[in-house]
């Protein structure tokens, strides 16, 4: 048998196998194919393999040997699969234990705060809101002054805000932003209304940490500015967004609240999803769960941004991402988020 013949033969064996395997109807057919190619005396592939011995040239022998072997492995693997499909009762196949544990792929984890934040961002992005993050180190003008929080306001006290030592010649103090509202005036200065913006990001408060307080947490500020934006639009946006996040239709209830950069200011409650507003332990039997602070943008803020007085109206709201994540996943202790503990992170 010449080398050329052998090549051709292997090719025809592959062809022949394709035809035969496509006609298999039962396990008997599978066994017959097995016998046809691999019978120890007259099997077609057995014969070819036997012929290898007679090749003299070592390089040629290696090449053809490799090819023949690959053909054999390929056909055997396919026969195994066929046997499995036709529920072979042969000993080898019945040992296939489908109840053994699957091999878990090594997928990582996204931090639960990011998961909640992304969910929020996706909802607002879909409603036409642009997304900005901004800097965490901010000067006190954008963090406070421009937002109608003058130097005399209690929020400016050292016990609430982290201040940084001056590293440059400037009268303006720099602070770690206490809210992502720092971006309100920055964005208003760069863009003209209509504005629909959300600002998710890290914020800081200088307060002792315990199960419900962290000095580092995540917040999402949102604001809308246009010529005729009203309280009734605010309720609409919150109702739509909260319904999406909580995956059911909810009611929003506004009541008086106080934040210096909005007027009027509101606390927004969301109808309790646990009891459908009928009253339960989660909502302290009121049917409402406190959700976020919001309000109509204060004229002083527009003034800071250089907007013409009375031309625009707008609303702003701030969502605590940690709080939402705790509510959503039932996490009792806010300190878990920043611990880096895989026993925690791997749960999400």
């Amino acid at each position: 048998m010449s080398n050329q013949d052998m090549d051709t033969q292997l090719a025809s064996i592959q062809e022949e196998f394709k035809v035969k395997s496509s006609e298999v109807k039962s396990i008997t057919d599978v066994d017959a194919i097995n016998d046809y190619f691999f019978n120890r005396k007259k099997g077609k592939l057995t014969n070819v393999l036997r012929g290898l011995k007679s090749i003299k040239d070592p390089a040629e022998k290696k090449n053809l040997g490799k090819l023949a072997n690959e053909t054999k492995i390929e056909i055997l693997a396919k026969l195994d699969k066929l046997a499995l499909e036709y529920k072979s009762t042969t000993a080898k196949m019945s040992n296939f234990d489908v109840t053994l544990p699957g091999k878990t792929p090594s997928l990582g984890r996204i931090h639960p705060l990011r998961q909640v934040q992304e969910e929020l961002v996706d909802i607002f992005y879909s409603m036409g809101f642009s997304v900005h993050e901004g800097n965490e180190l901010e000067n006190e003008l954008y963090c406070f002054e421009y937002l109608n929080i003058p130097a005399t306001h209690p929020a400016r006290d050292l016990q609430d805000t982290f201040y940084v030592k001056k590293y440059q010649n400037s009268d303006i103090e720099e602070v770690l932003r206490t809210h992502t509202s720092n971006m309100q005036v920055r964005i208003m200065e760069q863009q003209k209304p209509p504005l629909r913006i959300v600002v998710p990001g890290r914020v800081f408060r200088n307060e002792a940490i315990d199960a419900s307080h962290e000095h580092t947490f995540y917040q999402m500020e949102g604001f809308v500015v246009d010529e005729d934006v009203s309280i009734s639009n605010l309720t609409y946006v919150l109702k739509e967004a909260m319904s999406k996040i909580l995956q059911q239709s909810v009611q929003i209830r506004l009541r008086p609240g106080y934040f210096p950069y909005v007027e009027p200011g509101f606390e927004a409650d969301c109808s309790c999803v646990n009891c459908d507003g009928k009253g339960c332990k989660t909502c302290k039997y009121t049917g409402w769960v406190e959700m976020l602070g919001c309000g109509m943008i204060h004229p002083k803020v527009f003034e800071s941004a250089g907007y013409e007085a009375g031309k625009y109206t707008g609303f702003a709201f701030g969502i605590g991402i940690n709080r939402l994540a705790m509510l959503k996943y039932g996490i009792p202790d806010i300190r878990e988020f920043m611990k880096g503990d895989l026993r925690f992170l791997d749960q999400f």
Binding site: L107, G108, R109, I110, H111, L113, R114, V121, Y125, F129, S130, V131, H132, E133, N135, E136, L137, T152, F162, Y163, V164, K165, Y167, Q168, L176, P194, R196, N206, A208, I209, T216, V224, D226, D228, S230, I231, S232, N233, T235, Y236, I252, L254, R255, P256, G257, Y258, E263, P264, E267, M296, P299, G310, T313, F337, M338, G340, D341, L342, R343, L345
Partner: protein, 790 residues
Amino acid sequence: MKLSLNWLKEFVEINETPERISELITMHIAEVEGFENQAESLKHIVVGKVLEAKRHPNADNLNIGQFDVGEDNARQIVFGGKAVLKAGDMIPVALPGAHIGEITISERKLRNEISQGMCCLNSEIGILDNEEKLHFFDNSVTTGTPISEVLKLNDVIIEIDNKTLTHRSDLFNHVGFAREIAVVLQKELNIPALLEAEQSDEIKFTVEVEDPKSCPRYMGVVLNNIKIKSSPDWMQARLVSVGVRPINNVVDITNYVMMEYGQPLHAFDFDKLNGNKIIVRRAKKDELFVSLDNKNHKLDENTLVIADDNNPTALAGIMGGLTSEISDKTTTMALESANFEPTIIRKASSKQSLRTEASTRHEKGLGFIFPELGFWRAIELLVEHANAKVASSIKNVNQGRPQKKEQSLSLEFIERLIGMQISREKINEILTGLSFEIINDQEGVLTIEVPDHRTDISNEQDLIEEIARMIGYDAIPVTPLLGLLEPSIREKTTYIGEQLIHQLSAWGAREVMNYSFYGTEDVEKLELSEEKHIEIVNPMNPDQQYMRQTLLAGLLKSIKYNQDNQYKNISLVEYGHVFFPNNEFSVVAGVISLEDNSVFYKAKGLVEELLIRHNIKVLLKPLEDSDERENTNYQVFNPAADAIYTAGKSQIATIGLIKQNILDKYDISGSIAFFTIHLPRFVELSSKTTKFKKINLLPKIDLDISIEVTKEINWNMIQAEIVKSAGKYLESAELFDVYEGDKIDENKKSLGIRMFFQAKDRTLTMNEAEKIRTNIVDQLSKKFNAIHRF
């Protein structure tokens, strides 16, 4: 702040249930945290009469008594040694079912003796003075009567969250809330008119305000003939119910008036003052002062004091002094009712760590009218309940009544901001009800005169809030937001940073979030320089003193934390900001841990895959050779295994093995590879536009070679030589195996390389490919002394 419903009812008719009125207050005025129904909380606590009392046979500090609680049979009750009881005493007894704090009383055995109730101290059930003592009822009281009935404790106490009152200095009192409730309920407000007292010239008295800016108004008078005693029961009960401890009639009256009208008052023992003068002045530097609560304070010029001829005798608006305190022997007093500048009060109160009911009110800024309301009401009560007589002229030092604020209000703007139309009648009703006056109405614009007590009103939107909240926010319809439909955008660095985190996590990394700070300890461990860091003025603790310039410190601590919990071979990534003077930017960084140094290649593969996915072409250089290594934290890396990815002049990423001594300092086992990606640069270079390349459908030939070279020949050099000597038909050359070990020379390594050959226009023959291979092998052996093995 606590509100007594009975007290409110003196000024406005309220028929609503406690639940309903609480809800209305929450919805229209300020958040109600909860309410306490006194009769409810004192349920099952009745008047009991001691029939006999004896020592408990099995316990030295317990007694056993038989009590008549108005039932057929007497009850046996075990009580503590604190109560000295004798037959005939009438005291509060809690029967089974009563709630004392968290405990529900039930019948039980105490040291083998049955106890069918409990004797209650005032402090245990929050009645009267709230002290740890027993109240004895008059013998005329029928046994078994609920004590709430006997003590007339039928009030409902509503707790308001002060946070929602931040801007409303006028609401820290009952009259203020009553005014708002009257509007909510659409009822009359009945505030009794206050009579101005007649003055006298019996005692000479002067008031001198040195700093009128800090004290815009000071009213004072001397009263004599005072008889100090307990204040009337009803007054004590009211004070206790709103959380104030009764002391004596004079002090109780000042507190009562503060809770009623919102004006803090102070009473000085006039005989203890040096001279006849009250001076309002700044404290001198290091001046000493002992406050009522017997604490020493060192003052400075930023603190306002009330002084006599020699010494400070009160911290203005915060607390009185010990020396002029009203005592049992007081017969003559000076009464103070004043306005102080809010900031000076807040700063002094925070500096001296003294927060009082008075400072809470003053630091919010009380309107000009408050001092006179409190003043006249207090004199009225002092005359009635402390036998007082006005003995001096009445001082009223001020710069004149400030002009009333006027604010215009456009009807069109009301509708625009609220999103619904509101009738003129309703607007009138609400504003007038809240004591605003409509002084002009022209072409849809109202001119509103703001009442003196509303210091918070300064613009149109403030007035619209009044209208909207009184109508009720729940009455405002929900209207879809309309506007120009424009494509929204996402800040690119954040967005791509998040993408990278997702890509890394798909590959197996876990995302952590660490603090943005670290301390001296980390700076030292990582061999960073403290001076270059931005420092926090007021850190939580020294471990959080510096703003981070690398995410490495936090990531290493996370590795350590999890290694301690038996996690091995983990990969952690983080998105975060780093801070340099005038330069804050975001990075994505990661640490990968493995047993050995091969972890470097894992990190490298990962970073390169991210670069490829985002179409960024980079150059890899060992960090050692890089001229820009100053800007990297190169010192954390093992100098033999670090590298930097650059594109043009831009450093995009660094990777490397963390030095062993740093790992030792963090007590981390195994090897750690660290990478950090500069996001703004990454984003700048990343491009989404991929150019399609025609797919070559012609057959490809793959051929392997296996070569042995000395260890200093690196893969980059070999690959470059293969590309050079292969010519145009080489499609790619991949390293699939590296072997170093026993089977070859110790200074050598063996590399397995697979090459793919392909022509663009025809089928390449095996012969051609083999020729190219031979040439490659020849060149490799010429250049690097490579030995080719089959």
